[in-house]
Symmetry: C2
Subunit: 465 residues, 2 copies
Amino acid sequence: MDYKKIDNKDIEYILSIIQDKQRVFHGENINEDYSHDELSATKKMPEVVIQVLTTEEISKIMKYAHENKIPVTPRGAGTGLVGSAVPIYGGILLDTTKMNKILEVDTENLTLTVEPGVLLLDIGKYVEKLNLFYPPDPGEKTATIGGNISTNAGGMRAVKYGVTRDYVRGLEVVLPTGEIIELGGKIVKNSSGYALKDLMVGSEGTLGIVTKAILKLLPLPKKVMSLLIPFPNLDMAISTVPEIIKSKSIPTAIEFMQREVIVAAEKFLGKKFPDNSSDAYLLLKFDGNTIEEIEKDYEDVAKLCLEKGAFDVYISNIKQREEAIWSARGVFLEAIKADTSEMDEVDVVVPRNKVADFIKYVHELEEKHSIRLRSFGHAGDGNLHVYILKDELTEDVWQRKLEEVMEDMYKKQRELRGQVSGEHGIGLAKKPYLNQSLSPTTLNLMRGIKSTFDPNNILNPGKIF
Amino acid sequence: MDYKKIDNKDIEYILSIIQDKQRVFHGENINEDYSHDELSATKKMPEVVIQVLTTEEISKIMKYAHENKIPVTPRGAGTGLVGSAVPIYGGILLDTTKMNKILEVDTENLTLTVEPGVLLLDIGKYVEKLNLFYPPDPGEKTATIGGNISTNAGGMRAVKYGVTRDYVRGLEVVLPTGEIIELGGKIVKNSSGYALKDLMVGSEGTLGIVTKAILKLLPLPKKVMSLLIPFPNLDMAISTVPEIIKSKSIPTAIEFMQREVIVAAEKFLGKKFPDNSSDAYLLLKFDGNTIEEIEKDYEDVAKLCLEKGAFDVYISNIKQREEAIWSARGVFLEAIKADTSEMDEVDVVVPRNKVADFIKYVHELEEKHSIRLRSFGHAGDGNLHVYILKDELTEDVWQRKLEEVMEDMYKKQRELRGQVSGEHGIGLAKKPYLNQSLSPTTLNLMRGIKSTFDPNNILNPGKIF
């Protein structure tokens, strides 16, 4: 694509808008971190980095970039896994992490208004003090809410509470042309024209830059309790999940894990997990307002699991055990990463009753391609994370095997009528697979929407499709 | 707009596709019902009506209409209130009511796959027999699910369970060009490109024709119980609602009603309501799996209401009273309609803590314009239904007053940062008000999306914007 390169005149213009020189970096002053995200292999340095502070600054920058055909990539904390925030055409990188103010909590409408750079962990801390609850719970708590909105982040509580899109009531957005629009608001329902708010969520920073978000809160459940349930094998564990969902006791989370991942987490944390003697585990969380209410729920589910062949049911009714379990679960990604030289990931989502089929197939692939694969994930919503480990493979062999394993896995995903990404997004890393998974007609509709919002294709170009 | 008129050649082509003459009507054979919906004033006869049976038929018709620039209007049961299904440019009307098969219930993934013409009441009956639950609950049970999807219908259970969009997992859609696409599926989460499924829901048949829907089901709550709570006045009733929402006991429904509407319903049904001695009422519903669970919830809420000045709390723990209350609530619209010569409606949604302000303003307007207004609605989600009654007014005076009252109400809606429609959609009737409520930039984005999907502007043209 034919984009304008940044020159001195552009820098002068940017400085005239930003005024504070400390927030503009170019050339050699740019930190190398801005060239990549948490996982994806692609690296590219931006030509200029701007740490923006206000909607108006972003609007002026976008207007200029639109008129001058300069590519702009928005970036939060850089914790993405698929390259969405990598500035592959150079240009301007807009760092939104300094827009990190919580603007308002409205306890009558149960909403929280935030700037995009607020971290997920700070939202949690802030609202829980007020006895309120923001349910979306992706593993990475140091992500920004802007990043969560851009990928429609899911997380562990999705089984009961849904995903980020379900908790975004309203957005302020700067369009690629620099215009500022508001979508939704504090209202609960809306049938007033096309669902642009829902479209913006999950668009990976390609349709607009979120500058303010009104989030939906719930009353904070007073009690939380988990069950760790060892099974003889993964198949038995996972085939119990549809039965749990059908029971009337919907857990907050239903995770599956295997011994080798638990062992990696123990090693990473230097702490023992409550149990690692079985091949496979389900980890269930329940929340509610009283212990009695939760007990009634989990007793039914515990009984069901034992009937389905579980070895035992460990109840984490003390805070230390609860923390031991979930802190281990929280570091799975990092623990696997620390256990190999390099890795790549798959984040497919399949119908809930196909999870066992997919995981069985992953184990077949491990043998077929002689490569280590590690998996864990959200059994309750069919969203699986599979990691492909390089270990001691040479670069050549690694690249070849990686491609073959990926091809096989995404083929299986299509066969099971799943989708490419459950929560991490498409970015760069998964473009070829989205291309195989969606019809050309569907992809063309997406391209049409992109050019409606961004006629000069300057906002985060080259991503998704 | 410059559309082709239907001629004999077109009819011949249509008959070559449909083959069954009994499903094609033209000229004088068209039933007058097809010219209007349930409420909106605009009437227009289509040139030809086709009772379609299959996706393939619709695809072929659309391809032909696209190539020949013939306008096509999809229609379900015609229970809409804003004119979305009125064929204002004539052309082809596609009646989908004969596509009324329930195709599959998947008890492992908890999904129901249906054709668009299945009635909401038939879905309810079907899944409840299986101990399953489809939560969206608009007042009009004889609407088709296709119609519900087209307006993103809400209904009374939205407080706890959300709206139609939250229960649509996947769609098969025929595009205006005749191409067939699938969006979503049985998967629970999805971050794989733009949210076209969410965009299609609520697009009022302007972006595509839904030919199949995969709906999300829940386990059926075993017990339901309601509270009818009389208050001295509406202000006291409605200002209690944010307190209820903040408590940890989220009701399924929070409706408000006033004596005059209850009296109209009594007259319409020829049956007494449990109580009509107070000016204002809240009607709350609770559901759960045991009586004890529900009791704990409603006891807290009952106490709260009494503290806030409620006269009493009537508990409907027997089936007859439960039915008496909700059957009255179910006929409010018809009862008001039967009580006047003609009427029009407003379906605004405002932030929950602004409901009292809006209703107070409605009462001021009644005096200001000397016209009867009746209102009821979903206090729990801020979605209000206000009816403007013609009574004995002459046509001239009625039109003038109607316009003035509407202008005032929508001005108030904007002032309170609400939106034009909470659940009925925009159609024709509310176009001018959407135009005032959304920014020109936002409307242009919607127009751009429309022309991406429908370059020849033949599918339900002239609606929404």
